[in-house]
Amino acid sequence: MKLTEDEIRKITLSAIEELGDKATPDNVKTIVKKAVESFDSSPSDIKMNESSGRAILTSFGINKPGIVASITKAISQCQCDIYDLSQKIMGDFFTMIMIVDLTNSPSDLKTVQEELAKVAEELKIKIYLQHEDVFRYMHRI
């Protein structure tokens, strides 16, 4: 996340206020730099301006044993991380939503999609894998 000039100015002013008499241009600079850096690395669930490396997997179909196993196996083979998972059975239907992190995966989204398409074909279920940005843009301002 990027800080605006205004926000940095505010941080600087509060640093000067806290330091009181001890404030020198040099130590204010160090403190502000640290504050800005720590802000940059602070984890945030939803960042608007940057593209995340995550994708959302949605899967549904007639329930049968081994669906979750097959999907997670395919994902782990692509070295993707599962960030979150939610699964529900509605009557005969199986539904699953998963947030998958592809940042450290050697495969790109397309390759993972192709792998999952094979699983979907085998199990006769639907699997969609879409980049997280779509959901972020549609549902978060």
Binding site: I99, H131, M138
Partner: protein, 453 residues
């Protein structure tokens, strides 16, 4: 989870079930540096320039489609209105240019390239006159080139001479393409207050104030709005406007994301998002169905204009909030042949040209994809264009006419193009003559509205 279950399902439903798609990503390319005294050199320059920027257009769009799971229905290209950089040429040379444009479009793998255009709202240069005369032959000898001519604006008034020339060009185009149901006319638009960054073909062109190259996006999704209205059940009109706004807001956000990503891939500046509900002949992808879901028995009856006005306005407002760069067209398109519900209403006798004309005063464009009997005279067509231009000029909005005087056909028959262009039943036109009025020529002065400074 950072997203609710419902939010995720809503996106999946929109993209997978309700046909929400990005209707078009249109790459605008300036051809202003492509002129040469030698037509062969000019043609080479045009071809090279379009290929330089456009050769990866389809590939990039496909990559983004796969990444985000949102389909991009059409990939297109718009160019500087051809009459501007190539003003010194004559009709035969303009036709040569159309052919090279067609070739470039084919090579890139796109279905339409638009911008065989002229802007003549106040008057015509020699080149513009030549271009208009060449339009029927250019459209008849190419498959992918689309043409548009702007004949009126709020600031300049209505160029009646140009309207008559265009009416004759439309008639000639219908005749030259008679073996394919006069399909040439489906690629020819007559505008008032044309928008310079419109991504929607056939009326797209890359305006003179546009940069070297830019990417504009057109979003659609009548199916999404239709389902949202159905789901909302009974609520008052204010509530209904809210439902439409919320839905459009979401699809505009997605559209802007896709547009920016395609532009990023090209390394070109992102232009605008045009949020227009544009129907397709697919079932459920119809503006008429939306109006009926709002409570009309059929399109064309009393109440239609009001319902359409509300729909159009809600679309604009939502687009405005969702994107920082909303295009000038945004609203609802009402092409007859491309909308199953409209076709049905015409066949039932519920929708007439006169009611459509009233609807165009509140929709985003105008009389679109309307087939009329082949023996409709040029002056009657000119009258229809002038009426439509008057609505645009007085209300300071874009209006357009894309009319097909189906050669050799009469009322009750239809023209069928298949694909996106669909099927148009031939509508009846009043036979009362306006020949003497149109024959006066000249220019209807700019209205009161133009004196804003």
């Amino acid at each position: 989870m950072p997203y609710e279950f419902d939010e995720i399902l809503e996106t999946i439903r929109m993209t997978e079930v309700e046909h929400f798609d990005i209707r078009t990503v249109t790459l605008g390319i300036s051809l202003r540096d492509c002129h040469d005294r030698n037509i062969e050199v000019t043609k080479q320059k045009i071809y090279d320039k379009i290929m330089k920027y456009g050769k990866n257009h389809v590939k990039y769009a496909r990559e983004i489609e796969a990444k985000y799971g949102i389909s991009i229905a059409n990939k297109r290209i718009s160019i500087t209105p051809v009459s501007i950089p190539f003003d010194p040429f004559h009709a035969e040379e303009f036709i040569e240019i159309a052919k090279i444009l067609d070739k470039a479009a084919e090579e890139i793998g796109i279905d339409y390239l638009a911008g065989y255009s002229a802007l003549v709202q106040k008057g015509m240069t020699n080149g513009e006159r030549e271009l208009i005369q060449s339009i029927p032959y250019a459209l008849a000898s190419t498959k992918r080139v689309c043409s548009s001519v702007n004949i009126a604006s709020t600031k300049a008034g209505i160029n009646m001479d140009a309207i008559l020339m265009m009416a004759e060009a439309i008639k000639k185009t219908a005749e030259l393409t008679k073996d394919r149901d006069s399909i040439g006319c489906a690629k020819l638009v007559v505008f008032a207050n044309a928008v310079e960054d419109n991504p929607f073909v056939a009326g797209a062109f890359h305006g003179v104030s546009e940069p070297e190259v830019t990417l504009n996006v057109g979003i659609s999704g009548p199916g999404v709005v239709l389902d949202a209205i159905k789901e909302a059940g009974y609520c008052d009109t204010q509530g209904l406007a809210e439902v439409i706004k919320k839905t459009i807001f979401k699809i505009t956000r997605a559209g802007e994301l896709i547009g920016r990503k395609v532009a990023e891939k090209h390394g070109v500046p992102f232009g605008i998002v045009d949020v227009s509900l544009a129907p397709t002949p697919a079932e459920g992808d119809s503006i008429a169905d939306i109006l009926m879901a709002m409570g009309l028995e059929d399109v064309g009856g009393p109440g239609t204009t009001a319902a359409l006005a509300m729909l159009n306005d809600s679309v604009k407002k939502a687009g405005l909030m969702a994107s920082g760069v909303v295009g000038g067209m945004s609203g609802a398109f009402i092409p007859v042949s491309e909308d199953m519900g409209m076709i049905r209403a015409v066949e039932n006798g519920n929708l007439t040209i006169e009611k459509l004309e009233a609807m165009t005063a509140v929709c985003s464009v105008g009389l679109d994809m309307i087939a009329v009997p082949g023996d409709t005279t040029a002056s009657t067509i000119a009258g229809i264009i002038a009426d439509e231009a008057a609505i645009g000029v007085i209300n300071d909005k874009t209006t357009a006419v894309r009319i097909i005087p189906a050669y050799g056909k009469k009322e009750g028959e239809s023209v069928d193009y298949g694909g996106l262009l669909g099927k148009a039943p031939i509508m009846s036109v009043k036979r009362i003559s306006c020949e003497k009025f149109i024959g006066r020529g000249g220019r209807i002065p700019a209205p009161m509205r133009s004196l804003t400074n």
